[in-house]
Amino acid sequence: MKPVVEITDLSISFATDGGAVKAVDGVSLTVNRGEVLAIVGESGSGKTVTAKTILGLLPDTATTGGAVVLTNRAGTGESDVVTLSKKELREVRGTDVSMVFQEPSTALNPVYTVGWQIAEGIRAHRKLSRAEAKREAIEILRKVGIPDPEVRVNYYPHQFSGGQKQRVVIASALVLNPGLIVADEPTTALDVTVQAEILELLRRLRDEFGTAIVLITHNMGVVADLADRVAVMYQGKVVEEADAKTLFANPQAPYTKQLLDAVPRIGQGRIQTTERLALRDAGIASRAAEGRTDKPVVVAENLVIEYPGRLGQKGFRAVDDVSFRIQPGEVLGLVGESGSGKTTIGRAIGGLTRATGGSLRVLDFEMVGFSERKFKPLRADIGFVFQDPAASFNPLLTIADAVAEPLVIHGRASSPADARKRVDELLEAVQLPKSYGDRFPHELSGGQRQRASLARGLALEPKLLIADEPTSALDVSVQARVLELFAELQAEFGFAALFISHDLAVVDLLADRIAVLYHGKLVEEGTGADVLDHPKDPYTRRLLASLPVPDPVEQAARRTVLAELQSSPGDNPA
């Protein structure tokens, strides 16, 4: 039988302000029936552009060469998407190929019911009455695992959770039974536990409906979980194409090897962590022998943080009765899914959000009901690294000026020019050339910006560094180098750190101790070995089992464990 889609020598160039930019360079790929082809690569590798070509969804600024031959489900008709007219493209979309987008909350129109939106797709291609279309919508919602579809079909998107919204998006892609679904980072916006469910659904599409899937992702764990075949893209070219098991077991291209090496795995940093702990304990012991005891940098006792509600409504309790402490020189990893309160805790320690109950002592200063004026001198001892390096720099200041800001504010230098010598030292410490100080933030790559952000956070040699998801906006190979740098700097400067992340593997690399948050409550705390190897709390167990590992064989085994965890009663707090 003919393949569903056959891409031959595809090249795409974009018109930009800086002249022509080539995004895809001579790519040839085929997708067979009922097969999941994963296209992996880092941002800018051309994977999304390649996939969008299959649906003819490129903007007007793009020029396409080569051929993308799409065959319909019955195998009776084929068409070259590149040469189709707009009208012909509309006929192909939905019936032969459809798309699942990354962000389910923006892919659905908030003012229409989900049933209406699914029916719209049906009625665009087939002559059906409203009632018939709705009946089909209910049927497809049932198939993608939405409970009570007869009722839910009349719900609006905001009445669904993130994972259910993604199910609805998948349902509307599936409703005309296309031979191919293009899924562009379908689980990136979702929490790991929800991600596992959506991956399970996609697997069912392939097995029960025989739908071929082009899966675009940067997450090697997702690839290992779902893909039959993998194409690795780098700088617009396919550098390696192999079936999933072969690729993970025996990668050929140097780039693939590098990519796989950069993926953090649980247990990888255990040796360093143990060494560091031993070193620190020795230090504490020697200081104790001199009669000095270390005061903890942060002590939280029954901490409560509530966001005020609207007039007459109850406030939202983001953090509920959380107790932990951070010793000098210790790295505490804070893990949790979105809405678990991890970022709120970090912001409260930094004085950006007010703690409302219990007690939070930062550097021996009570943060509940604090006054900004009294806290200000202490800010010199707290560094902060933000999630998005692009947004955390003032676009109109040079890197040197931005790094000099803390020095000027706290009176260590009279002007940014005066601080330049210290700034140069800091840039060297984070492995950036001094000359980069004269650049503007947009002239640096993501990883370089996050290095500069580290330099700014460390400018005053703080006792405490709060890092809020510092690597989640970075590509995996860049992430690996930034994490390495973070560990080096921590060893060199000896600051205590609160490392906030949603990624257990990343936290495990760096943290001495790990605290797991769930719905604002601290469910488990301990060393990496305790929490990750012998999790006690059911939520931690589920979180661990949901985390896909970059190894198809191991991942298949983990799936059964997760299925057991989910089916066991009482263990499913969601």
Binding site: S13, A20, Y234, P254, G351, K434, Q448
Partner: protein, 345 residues
């Protein structure tokens, strides 16, 4: 992997050339096709308008209030001739000279009106947006209240209050400028306030807060410059509106006396009765001057507006397989440790 071997020289250039970074020139370079045509037309008309205003004393054959020369009085409502290429008005002034001098008045009123309203609007917007609270609420209500009045009515009331009927050159210009200012302040205020509220939540402002920067430092170093990016567009659009308001005031008789300065709106008013009696030149030329100057400035403003938005900006199509593959975000652009040591040495 050659991730560490890219030489420093392969890094992107730090700065473009200076001329190419100037606000209007940068957009001119970016534009193509119809958008470029619009921008160039607008720029040419606007430049002409400014040049005429600047060199009015040289270009205009007579003064704006001149009624006679060596050969005697001009005479009223004379048709275009060699002496008076655009004829004379009912009051006996030379139309061509008054059109030329009128450009000067218009430019001065624009400059004063826009400078006053920008300064006041930016400060109010910044303070109100950043600090919030009751001050913000009061200012928003006042701003909305001003919107509720027809702008020309406000301008009339103000011009009566300020100039009180007497009108020398500067008094008239300042009065006109201030009456336009009152109408414009809420516009700048709103834009800056909205931008400030957006920027207030940006991580780089939070980062400055984390570092312990004072409120005024955050407001002026981090928020102000980022909030004023859209101003050139409002500035040009408001300039054309200022010309119209000034002409409107003059037309209704609240402008500048003909002996103090030339003003297109006033001349149009005086030409009202001429039109019905077939005297076309007294109304046509001041009217054309208003239309052209407004058109020129609006074209510049609208094209800048389109070009500032990458989604509206037109680009030339590129050929198949053209262009170079850009570096992806893998840290290839990052020099190796040796390079850094060498560079830093």
């Amino acid at each position: 992997m050659s991730a560490d071997t890219a030489p420093l020289s392969s890094l992107p250039p730090v700065k473009g050339n200076f001329l190419g970074r100037l606000p209007v020139l940068k957009q001119l370079r970016q534009s193509v096709g119809l958008q470029r045509g619009m921008l160039v037309t607008g720029l040419v008309i606007t430049a002409l308008f400014l040049l005429v205003a600047l060199f009015a004393p040289v270009i205009a054959p007579y003064g704006f209030a001149q009624l006679r020369d060596d050969s005697g009085a001009f005479g009223a409502q004379q048709p275009p001739s060699a002496q008076h290429i655009m004829g004379t008005t009912v009051g006996g002034y030379d139309v061509f000279s008054r059109v030329i001098w009128g450009a000067q008045t218009a430019v001065m009123v624009i400059v004063f009106a826009v400078v006053f309203s920008i300064i006041a609007g930016i400060l109010l917007g910044l303070v109100s947006g950043y600090l919030g609270g009751w001050l913000d609420r009061v200012l928003v209500v006042i701003g909305d209240a001003i919107y509720a009045f027809p702008s020309l009515l406000l301008a009339i009331v103000l011009s009566i209050v300020i100039s009180g009927g007497q009108s020398n050159l500067w008094g008239g210009i300042i009065a006109a400028a201030l009456s336009i200012t009152v109408v414009f302040i809420p516009q700048y205020y709103r834009v800056i306030r909205a931008e400030t509220i957006r920027i207030k939540a940006e991580p780089y402002v939070e980062s400055a807060k984390m570092l312990g920067a004072s409120t005024s430092r955050i407001m002026f170093r981090h928020v102000l410059r980022n909030a004023t990016r859209t101003l050139p567009i409002i500035f040009t659009l408001n300039s054309s509106e200022a010309i119209l308001t000034l002409a409107g005031l003059g037309f209704l008789g609240f402008g500048i006396e003909p002996t103090a300065a030339a003003e297109w709106g006033y001349d149009l008013n005086k030409a009202l009765s001429d039109v019905t009696s077939g005297i076309w030149w007294t109304a046509l030329f001041p009217g054309l001057a208003i239309v052209l100057s407004v058109l020129g400035i609006t074209l510049v403003g609208e094209s800048l507006n389109d070009l500032a938005d990458p989604r509206l900006r037109g680009r030339k199509r590129v050929k198949v397989k053209s262009g170079a593959v850009s570096e992806t975000s893998v840290d290839r652009t990052l020099p190796s440790d040796e390079d850094i040591l060498e560079e830093n040495a």
